[in-house]
């Protein structure tokens, strides 16, 4: 490597967020123009370094073919590296840009202060979170959510299923097939679905308003005394998260549908005190003139309040969340259904409480607000996702189901247990203990092929899980990334590639708990294990 003095100026800092990397120009010369006159073969010889081509191959050098190839290559070459944050299992994180991933070199990352790209062993990585919001698919005709045993989730259309394989139509990879034994469940979507929001990526579209006190208590040499509170916005944005710095509101109108899922990563220090108002139109203050719901999250508990227009608040119930007392972060999920008058709270994937409002669904607005009750740094909200919900719960609590007995849930709430023979031409054939039944697919709401006790297949080293904006997850072994395309081998579908623009984040090693630094090997080992 040449000395620093000969390398030119170091790249600027990334504060400001605008990607500043020049794309790698891997242009290939196809030779000069074809103006040297015909060769002995009769084909115009290109000027430059290439030898004359055989007649057969020369036919491939038609201008339109070359134009298509050039365009395809330019797509690869001109895609700027996506900026974001690389997070490690040991808690470290590095801003920068993802240059590439391949099985032999690991993850190539560029940081503004680094002299050259850094190649990280993915074994010690947690995820890559991109600064920008991913593209949302607009032409998805998905009618089914497929959940696989390895944790993959896809939205698509069920084409067929037999004793060996399931065939589905996806929006990003077309028609794919997977071994039937890799599938855990299929839930048929009957209402609106898809993401309404993924972020945050900045403060655009958000309302931030202070409700803090004018004075605070501070310890001093002569005891605690009252001092003026420092004026500041109660919420600030940094690195894909909103961080509370005072008492105040953070609100946004998401145009919530009648059935919605609201998920976010929540981190806190000290006692937790966060109010989440949902289905509200008032984004910058407390207003009890309009119906909404309020979830009061504290250290190890949650309270659900119904805001009744001009009638105050009514306590609908409380739930204990003991796991939250042993840590200071959790993934919170709310599932709201106007049709079912229900509110369901989950923490880290576990259902905490399901409430049903006996007075009907109170929410009259379409927005969400977060209200921090604490002075000073209190909570951080990140990885927020708002999506439509089909009103169905996940396939939990079906431990009796295994591969030899499948469970089919019907629209009239009936359940059928047996061995599914096939799904074809919109008809499901299932062999029960009594008889073989043929059920129109339109009457089926969910098919569970494997219960909670099904073995999760081991993840191959070097696997990466792609998180897509629709909540879909695709695991790829021997994963590659070149800035415009993500590719690899899906253990379910085989070789897969999709545009990098669709990817919300990349997750490495999801099954591994965070390591402390002293548990990590130092360099000297192979790149891939």
């Amino acid at each position: 490597m040449p000395p620093r003095s000969q390398r030119g100026p170091a790249p600027d800092s990334f504060w400001g967020g605008r990607p500043r990397f020049a794309p790698r120009r891997e242009t290939r010369s196809l030779g000069g123009d074809f103006t040297d006159g015909p060769t002995k073969s009769g084909v115009a010889a290109p000027r430059g370094h290439l030898p004359p081509m055989p007649r057969g191959l020369a036919s491939l050098c038609e201008p339109w073919i070359l134009a298509v190839c050039c365009f395809a290559c330019s797509l690869q070459a001109q895609s700027p590296a996506l900026t974001g944050q690389l997070q490690f299992l040991d808690g470290a994180s590095l801003h920068g840009a993802l240059l590439g991933i391949d099985p032999h070199r690991g993850v190539r990352w560029q940081h503004p202060a680094a002299a050259q790209p850094i190649e990280f062993n993915p074994r010690n990585l947690q995820q890559v979170r991109f600064d920008r919001s991913p593209l949302l698919p607009t032409n998805s005709a998905a009618s089914c959510r497929f959940v696989f045993l390895n944790g993959d989730e896809l939205l698509g259309r069920l084409v067929s299923l037999d004793s060996e394989r399931v065939v589905l139509e996806t929006w990003f990879a077309g028609r794919v097939s997977a071994p039937r034994d890799s599938l855990r469940s299929m839930a048929f979507i009957t209402g609106p679905h898809g993401s309404y929001y993924e972020g945050p990526t900045g403060t655009d579209g958000w309302k931030i308003s202070s409700q803090g006190p004018q004075f605070i208590i501070r310890a001093g040499p002569e005891g605690a005394k009252q001092v003026p509170a420092a004026p500041a916005a109660p919420w600030r944005y940094a690195d894909g998260a909103f961080i509370s710095e005072g008492v105040g509101f953070l609100g946004r109108d998401f145009k919530l549908p009648d059935q919605a899922r609201i998920e976010f990563d929540l981190a806190w220090q000290g006692p937790l005190g966060l109010l989440v108002n949902v289905y509200t139109d008032v984004l910058d203050r407390f207003d009890y003139s309009q119906g909404a719901y309020q979830i009061n999250l504290g250290s190890g508990y949650a309270n659900l309040m119904r805001i009744q227009g001009n009638a105050g608040m009514m306590h609908l119930g409380m739930a204990q969340i003991p796991a939250m007392t042993l840590k200071n972060k959790a993934r919170i999920e709310l599932r709201m259904s106007r049709q079912q008058n229900s509110i369901t709270l989950l923490s880290d994937g576990e259902q905490i409480q399901h409430w049903r409002d006996p007075a009907g669904f109170a929410g009259q607005g379409t927005g969400i607000t977060f209200y921090s009750q604490r002075i000073g740094p209190g909570v951080r909200i990140s990885s927020l996702r708002v999506s439509a919900w089909d009103g169905k719960s996940d396939a939990q609590g079906e431990p009796h189901t295994n591969h030899s007995a499948n469970l089919v849930k019907l629209a009239n709430s009936d359940r059928v247990t047996g061995r599914m023979q096939s799904v074809r031409d919109d008809k499901l054939v299932i062999a029960t203990a009594q008889a073989e039944l043929t059920i129109p697919l339109a009457r089926v709401t969910e098919i569970i092929l494997a219960g909670d006790n099904a073995l999760r297949p081991p993840r191959q080293p070097g696997s990466v899980q792609l998180h897509l904006p629709t909540g879909e997850r695709v695991t790829l072994a021997a994963a590659t990334w070149n800035g415009s395309l993500a590719g690899g081998v899906s253990p379910n579908f085989g070789p897969v590639s999709l545009g990098a623009a669709w990817v919300r984040s990349l997750e490495f090693n999801p099954a591994r708990p965070g390591n402390s630094a002293d548990e990590l090997d130092f360099f000297g080992t192979e790149v891939q294990r």
């Binding site: 202060a113 680094a114 002299a115 040499p221 940094a238 220090q269 190890g300 042993l326 200071n328």
Partner: protein, 511 residues
């Protein structure tokens, strides 16, 4: 290999014959239980250092070197070759394992300079132009007198007793574990039956889970239990530590206790921390056999309501019957504790919660000379201000300091004042004159004994770091004397974010 610093020898003497046989028995027992005597006493692997950037990035690893051409070279466990970073975007390097420097160099004074440098050492001489300091890290240092802002003269009794923890050796664990030799071990019903490798009787019970565990240079409690150690505390002492928590702490810290393996509510001074309040208890028995409680007033530490970490400092002066509490360097309260003084010399931490998690780290125990710090004047001064040990103070001019005497020109003429009678000397400052700063990119090295030196770094290789200081000229430091290296000290720092990182990283960002 790092070891806890300790005033007396920490290593046990070689066992005699009977003890040796017992040791063999326990080795066989440990083997049966899958324990290894070496493993239980082996120090934990050194945690990684951290490299922090101005953009908020952070990497764990180890510093490989620094020079002007390649910048900072950082070794990361996930990268084959050291990574080179330009220093212009760096915030700091924090070295995880505190260095222990064996030195007998006296340190009777602390010197503060206009650019923020602080040096602990001996004042050799001071005249109109130059101050000469005998420092433990750089030998004799010469600095322009005009850059000197203050001298704090330490009393004779400020010796460091302990700084750690670097491992769990020497500590006693109580609560849910069985305390033997400082580590929770399995309980054996019939150890005699183990001799010869035959397990008899009821056999060993599964090892109990200690309430406190050592990790990343700190002790973490996830259950109710005690953690104690006999530090041979002198009658006047300071105890400082970082306390971090996930749910509001409920714990007691007993100082001058003679019971270090369980909670004894009658032993020592007991600080009771509950949410953001701190109480001090001293319980004694009066002549009638009843309990007498001293010093039950509480103190409030409001920052505990919206943070997850506070640095506490307790200063005990048994001679004056006072106990003072500091939080994050700010005095919170001083209690007067009259009556019989505790006879013990140990410290005990007792976590009372069974559902939370608290962490104690960066513990520092030292003797204390009983002197309180005096706040540095914030206004520009035209005269030197000399504070004396009898609480007097005089304004005037220091003509010179030599051979332990201060030639002070005051209203009554020139006096020769023994330096040991002074507590602090504040020199006049010209707020219009900028402090001396070396040209080029500065770094500020914080050293293990509390010094800090700003200089232009030339090279960090092997065992030495060299550079040029505006105050002291050429600087050569031992690498293992540096606990923190701050880059670009004039640049604004990224806002600290401790949210959600405590259980993932050994570090939380300092505010």
């Amino acid at each position: 290999m790092e070891r806890d610093s300790f005033r007396t020898h920490a290593r046990e003497s070689a066992p005699g014959t009977c003890v040796r046989a017992t040791a063999i028995v326990w080795l066989l027992v440990a083997a049966q239980c899958g324990f290894s005597a070496d493993a239980t006493n082996a120090p934990a692997p050194a945690p990684a250092s951290s490299l922090e950037f101005l953009d908020g990035s952070m990497l764990l690893g180890a510093l490989d070197g620094i020079n002007a051409q390649t910048g900072v070279r950082w070794k990361h466990p996930g990268v084959k070759q050291p990574i080179e970073f330009a220093s212009s975007n760096l915030h700091q390097v924090r070295f995880a394992a505190p260095r222990q420097i064996a030195t007998t160099a006296p340190a009777s004074c602390r010197f503060r300079f206009a650019n923020g440098d602080e040096v602990i050492g001996e004042l050799v001489s001071l005249d109109a132009e130059v101050v000469v300091i005998d420092s433990w890290f750089g030998g004799k240092l010469r600095a322009p007198r005009k850059e000197l802002r203050a001298i704090a003269v330490n009393g004779a009794g400020n010796a460091l007793i302990y700084e750690g923890p670097l491992n769990d050796g020497g500590w006693k664990f109580g609560g849910s574990g069985v305390v033997m030799g400082g580590v929770a071990r399995p309980v054996l019903i019939n150890p005699a039956a183990i001799i010869g490798g035959i397990v008899g009787g009821d056999g060993p019970r599964p090892p109990a889970t200690p309430a406190w565990t050592f990790k990343n240079n700190g002790f973490i409690s996830t259950a109710s239990g005690t953690l104690g150690r006999d530090f041979k505390l002198p009658p006047v002492a300071r105890v400082e530590f970082d306390l971090a928590w996930k749910t509001m702490p409920s714990m007691r810290i007993a100082l001058y206790t003679d019971v270090i393996d369980r909670m004894d509510y009658n032993a020592g001074y007991q600080f009771y921390i509950s949410s953001s309040y701190v109480y001090l208890y001293r319980r004694t028995v009066n002549e009638g056999g009843g309990m007498v409680f001293s010093a039950t007033e509480n103190a409030r530490v409001p920052q505990m309501n919206n943070r997850s970490k506070v640095r506490f400092e307790m200063r005990i002066n048994k001679e004056k019957e006072t106990a003072a509490l500091y939080a994050d360097g700010t005095h919170v309260k001083t209690w007067r504790v009259s009556g019989p003084q505790p006879e013990g010399t140990g410290i005990l931490f007792y976590s009372q919660r069974t559902d939370g998690s608290i962490r104690v780290s960066n513990l520092r125990v030292s003797a204390w000379d009983g002197r309180e710090e005096i706040s540095t004047p914030t206004n520009a001064m035209s005269e030197t201000l000399l504070h004396l040990a009898n609480s007097d103070r005089v304004a005037g001019k220091v003509n010179a300091i030599k051979d332990g005497k201060v030639a002070f020109a005051g209203p009554a003429g020139e006096l020769q004042i023994p330096l040991q009678r002074a507590t602090q000397i504040f020199f006049p400052s010209d707020t219009n004159a900028p402090p001396a700063n070396a040209t080029g990119r500065n770094v500020r090295a914080s050293l293990v004994r509390g010094d800090s030196v700003t200089f232009t770094l030339d090279r960090w290789e092997g065992a030495e770091v060299t550079g040029a200081s505006a105050n002291f000229g050429k600087v050569t430091l031992r690498v293992d004397s540096v606990k923190n290296l701050l880059f670009n000290p004039e640049s604004p720092r990224p806002p600290a974010d401790d949210l959600g990182v405590w259980d993932d990283s050994p570090f939380s960002r300092e505010e």
